[in-house]
């Protein structure tokens, strides 16, 4: 069985390489005949109307070829700084071409390319390539046109206080945003190219000395292992590098905010940037990372702590409230105070459905409304919310299809799930709500408890890049509790959180608690 599977995989791999056979083999170097080079490149870029081949005479007599992709390259710069100086003047002295380029071409970055593969990769990034007659070395000029949208506030993670810049779709801007936050040369950025066709640049970033060496190696290995046609978003890569692919829980944190990424880097985590998406990935993370917002660290610590507790409470509500309601209504009516029970019974008197079905109908409707609200254009989105509020909220109760308490429960659950700062985690808990409702409708509170135990077992099994998902609660790391259960003031957060071992322990000097008396020191 295993042997057959291996053969199948090998066959697949062979087919995969065959399909890209028109790309020249890795190390075929450029010829010293310009016509050969031109022909080979033209063959590679057959039917590519956006690739421009410009032949010109260097020094009035020597043949030269300029290749670039229209739209990716700064054509004005080529005109002014490459073609003009090389074509217009005649040079008395005969030096090597290399010296000529050094002297006359006013471009910051010039790199030599010697193989077709290099040539093609430079051209496809947008760097024009100059090839000269009689030389088997081409020159790639760093004149790619940076196409980028303006840096704006990320809509998925807005804050009241804190930096308002967000990552954009261009990798080099994102890279600069990170570098602007952490200027130390210890901030490393390793580049890997992924995608047979997309050639997407992926950057593994970490602060050397803070991040654990084995962790960096593990990330590097996992990313390098990926072999795929194209990476269009970090989400594609995420599914390849997770620890437990079948878990509903996200094991990698995604963020649009440079300050979150920089904060994670300073805690010794690894940040993975993918070209073409504003979402960068952070690993390793724990369950509690998904319940923390960047603002927690900018607000006053008492408020942050209270808000964290609120989030924990609403996390439980978003997972359990509908199932708890169903369990109480179906099995444990004695728990409800009498007055409330009477009014609840009165509102349920005319209902055609048992509580379990009622809850499922309402929850599914709510999820559908939410999904419709996200996908629709903004103008229609308002209409959906009106329909949702009126039809679901008001009419369904009047028509006697659902009870008013159920509407309250579902609405509260909906709000609760929006208090979780990370969408990927919120949606996981929202999905788990449905099995919990079914368990509550069949086994009551016992069913809910069995469901919770199952979730806890699963969470205990999970790891994110080798770090237990429930840490620092289980396994308990008492030193990190002050940034999990609460948010201790900054002058108390002296020790760095550590995922694998103890090294470079302190992140600030101790006893910095502000005190008016200290001003004299």
């Amino acid at each position: 069985m295993k042997l057959r599977r291996r053969k199948y995989i090998e066959k697949q791999a062979k087919q995969h390489t065959l399909q890209e056979s028109n790309v020249p083999s890795d190390n075929k170097s450029l010829s010293d005949q310009l016509t050969d080079n031109k022909e080979e490149l033209k063959k590679l870029y057959a039917n590519c109307s956006d690739v421009v081949f410009r032949s010109f005479f260097l020094n009035g007599k020597e043949d030269a070829l300029l290749v670039y992709i229209d739209g990716l390259t700064q054509v004005e710069e080529i005109d002014d700084n490459v073609l003009a100086p090389l074509m217009k003047k005649t040079y008395a002295e005969q030096g090597s071409v290399r010296e000529l380029l050094k002297k006359k071409v006013a471009v910051a970055s010039v790199t030599e390319v010697e193989t077709y593969t290099n040539c093609v990769s430079e051209i496809s990034v947008g760097n024009p390539v100059v090839i000269l007659e009689g030389s088997s070395t081409g020159f790639s000029l760093g004149l790619a046109k940076p196409e980028t949208r303006a840096i704006s506030e990320p809509s998925s993670e807005s804050v009241v206080r804190g930096p308002r810049e967000g990552f954009v779709e261009s990798l080099h801007v994102n890279r600069a945003l990170l570098r602007r936050k952490i200027r130390s040369p210890q901030l490393k950025m390793e580049t890997i190219e992924i995608g047979t066709y997309t050639k997407t640049t992926v950057i593994i970033s970490y602060v050397s000395g803070l991040a654990d060496e084995t962790l960096i190696k593990e990330v590097r290995n996992r990313v390098a292992r990926v072999e795929i046609d194209g990476v269009l978003d970090s989400g594609v890569l995420e599914e390849f590098i997770e620890d437990y692919p079948y878990s509903p829980f996200p094991q990698v944190l995604t963020t649009e905010r440079p300050d979150v990424a920089a904060g994670s880097l300073l805690e010794g985590r690894v940040v993975i940037l993918v070209d073409g998406t504003p979402f960068v990935m952070i690993a390793p993370v724990s369950l509690y990372s998904f319940l923390q917002a960047s603002e927690d660290y900018y607000m006053r610590f008492i408020m942050s702590t209270l808000i964290r507790w609120l989030r924990y409470a609403f996390l439980v509500i978003s997972l359990l409230l509908p199932s708890f309601y169903v369990a109480v209504i179906t099995f444990h009516q004695e728990m409800v105070p009498t007055a409330l029970l009477i009014s609840m019974a009165a509102s349920r008197e005319q209902l055609p459905f048992p509580a379990l079905i009622e809850a499922l109908i309402m929850e599914v409707t709510f999820e559908a409304l939410r999904e419709a609200g996200i996908r629709l254009p903004k103008q229609i989105g308002a209409a959906v919310s009106i329909v949702g509020a009126l039809v679901i909220g008001e009419s369904a109760v009047t028509a006697g299809i659902v009870s008013a308490p159920m509407v309250i429960v579902v609405a509260l659950t909906g709000i609760a799930s929006f208090t979780i700062p990370r969408y990927s985690q919120a949606i996981a808990l929202r999905m788990l709500r449905f099995p919990m409702i079914i368990l509550a409708g069949t086994l009551g509170i016992l069913g809910i408890m069995l469901g919770i135990i199952a979730i806890v077992i699963h969470l205990s099994t999970l790891r994110s890049f080798g770090v237990p998902y429930l840490s620092p609660m289980a396994p308990m790391k008492s030193g990190e509790m002050k940034d999990t259960l609460a948010r201790a003031p900054w002058w108390k957060l002296n020790a760095r959180p550590h995922f694998t071992g103890a090294y470079n322990e302190h992140r600030q000097s101790a006893s910095q608690k502000p005190n008016p008396g200290k001003g004299e020191e």
Partner: protein, 365 residues
Amino acid sequence: MENGRISASQMALMMYPVVTGTGIIFIPSLTANAAGNDMWLSPVWAASAGWIAIFTALHLHRLNPNQTIIQYSERLLGKFLGKVVSLVLLFFYLVMNGGGVRIYSDFVTGSFFEETPTYIIVSSMMLLSAFAVRGGVEVIGRTAEMLTPIYILFLLLVFLLILPDLRPENALPMLENGFTPSLKGAYTPQSWFAEFFVIAFLIPYVKKEKTAARWGVISLIAVTLTFTATNLAVLFLLGEDVTAKLNYPLLDAIQYISIAEFLQHLESIVMAIWVAGAFVKFTVIQYAIVLGTAQVFELTDYKALVFPLSFLTVLFSFWGIVGEADSTYHSSTVFPLTSLIMQTLLPLGLLLISYFQKKTGLFPR
């Protein structure tokens, strides 16, 4: 075979529910029957079985480092006899866990879900614990670390909430007939305390072994306090006569809770939290059974045994137990004796042999 490691505090959090899981609902009534209004003293005497269990397990481990009882019993008694003793011990745990699951399901069906078939309750619990056992000792440790604190907190909350209804005069006259009744009452709970011997399966996987003793003792003291507090609470609230007649006195005590006409009838919630503790208990013992069986038969991996042995535990929760009354009878007569033999005398014997072997070097390695 087991690559995971747990911390000593995780071990303590695993052991606390192992003893209190089923004990807390059963022991008040059993001790009240034997000790009358001295029932609160019985757990303190009974705890000596726990001290012996921890002492023997630790010393056996010190003399036979990095081995579970299954492995060193083979070394101490010889291959054949060692395997036989190990199998008998594992069989004892299998019967004990089956009985424990039965107590759990009888409690749940008897008090809450009268119509639900017992096998649903039993098998859903064993299925969950099988999942946890498959994850290995690390997963069980972390699960216990998440669930046991909630379990302890709720117990404390229950004690706090029934405080207004307590009548301490129920305990009077104290020690009317000397210490004999309370010592008699200690006979049943000692078997629960002796379950601390399960740490003999866990210590080889504890990270800092030196802290294992301290945390084991902390866990034991916590258990003793819990049982004493439970017995006191039940005695103060219901009195000895009522307590002796009730099957689950703590449950009835919880029904007394009524604060501001809003916090009342909390028994379903307390039951649910207790289920979490019971789950940890069954899982830890099931893990010991599975690991031990794999070691007896010298398998490379125990994962294949998890589901068959869990199924066997489900069967043992039905075999030989006719009903709730039979289960109570079993817990108060058969179980204390077998526990005394298997969890107290057998380990002490092994310890003697181990000492003797170390002194003289007579037995083969």
